[in-house]
């Protein structure tokens, strides 16, 4: 039996995403929880120690553990945002934008038009990953301080527009690294049954539109 390449690609991506989600959950619920138990245990012991040198050493250890817990939590969120499964695409996008502005100093205006509709988890993750990649490209290449993301909830489809007024690029010019990234975004949308379009010109910014049919 020969399966179409698109189905195989789709299956590989889906399996990878499931594995990423499992690792993220394991980090958050398993490793993170165990570290937190150790943290509270150390705090309890610290309260019962009178030797100032030992107390200070234990306090330093507790502080390192607190940092580690935060690192594990952030790594887990980075791998797979919990808001995506719990509250859906728009909430996850909103939460990611906050983190993005805090990380890169780029303000992102988020606009939503229409009533939010149900999108399957599999499609949610595709849209979220392509959206993440588009914002990462703005941070890496656009040289701008602001961007706009618009969600358009229509009867039959969802469109997400990501626009910036940065330096833009000539889409006809060869730039293998950039082109590969864009090709991957396009392919992911295509495999999910959606579309990916991009418009850009030097000094004119970049406009990306993702569309996905809603069932």
């Amino acid at each position: 039996m020969v399966m179409p390449v698109s189905e195989i690609s789709s299956y590989i991506i889906h399996t990878q995403e499931e594995e990423i989600k499992r690792i993220a959950l394991e980090l958050h619920e398993g490793v993170g929880q165990n570290l937190y138990s150790l943290f509270t245990g150390l705090q309890f012991i610290e309260g019962g120690i009178e030797n100032p040198v030992m107390k200070s050493a234990l306090k330093d250890m507790t502080a390192v553990l607190a940092k580690t817990i935060q690192e594990v939590r952030l790594l887990s969120v980075e791998l797979h945002p919990p808001a995506l499964s719990a509250f859906g695409l728009f909430a996850a996008t909103k939460s990611y934008i906050k983190l993005y502005t805090n990380t890169f100093g780029i303000e992102v205006e988020l606009i939503t038009i229409g009533k939010e509709r149900l999108v399957s988890e599999k499609e949610n993750i595709v849209l979220f990953r392509v959206f993440q990649e588009a914002l990462a490209n703005i941070a890496k290449h656009a040289d701008t301080s602001c961007a706009t993301v618009t969600f358009r909830w229509e009867e039959t489809f969802l469109a997400i527009e990501i626009a910036d007024e940065g330096v833009g690029f000539d889409s006809n010019e060869e730039n293998s690294r950039n082109n590969l990234g864009l090709a991957v975004m396009k392919e992911r949308m295509h495999l999910a049954g959606g579309t990916f379009t991009i418009q850009s010109q030097r000094e004119q910014g970049t406009y990306i539109k993702l569309t996905l049919p809603l069932r």
């Binding site: 690192e71 805090n102 990380t103 890169f104 780029i106 990462a136 941070a139 040289d143």
Partner: protein
């Protein structure tokens, strides 16, 4: 640690260092008071104000890494030859820097800050330039220490 955005002596020290070594950018980052994250408090030669909103995770990027290791760090040709991903270096992306040299600032024997100089082209910082950065870092440590103890002028 408290906000140093309005602390003029720190701004002056960054501006002076930038001119002295002829770099495009000089910036001061300090670890936050309640979280291990690191924020940029001062910048000279900046092209925008993005640095004011950037919060770097402890151990990430050039500032986070210098604070976590307590050792100087150089980047010669960003985004090539770096540890991790380009996205882990937000100040390099925000200011379009291709090279940088950063040293830790130590307060009460704990590294809590970073002084960074950078250029918008590929560049290797000379030993002379590195010594100038180390001198300014020592000067800033003293100034900031006095500021926190309430002995220097400035707004907390």
């Amino acid at each position: 640690m408290r906000n140093l955005r309005n602390f003029q002596p720190a701004a002056d020290a960054c501006a002076k260092l930038r001119i002295e070594i002829g770099s495009d950018f000089a910036g001061l980052a300090i670890q936050n008071e309640n979280t291990p994250d690191v924020s940029w408090h001062q910048a000279a030669g900046n092209r925008n104000d993005k640095y004011k909103k950037i919060n770097v995770r402890f151990g990430k990027g050039i500032a986070g890494r210098v604070i976590s290791t307590g050792r100087p760090m150089s980047v010669v040709h960003f985004p090539n030859d770096i540890l991790g991903k380009a996205l882990d270096y937000p100040i390099m992306l925000a200011e379009n820097l291709q090279s940088a040299y950063a040293v830790p600032l130590v307060f009460n024997q704990v590294q809590r800050g970073v002084l960074l100089v950078g250029n918008r082209q590929e560049h290797i910082f000379t030993e002379e330039a590195k010594e100038a950065v180390a001198r300014t870092a020592a000067e800033l440590q003293e100034l900031i220490d006095r500021f926190y103890r309430g002995e220097a002028d400035g707004e907390a």
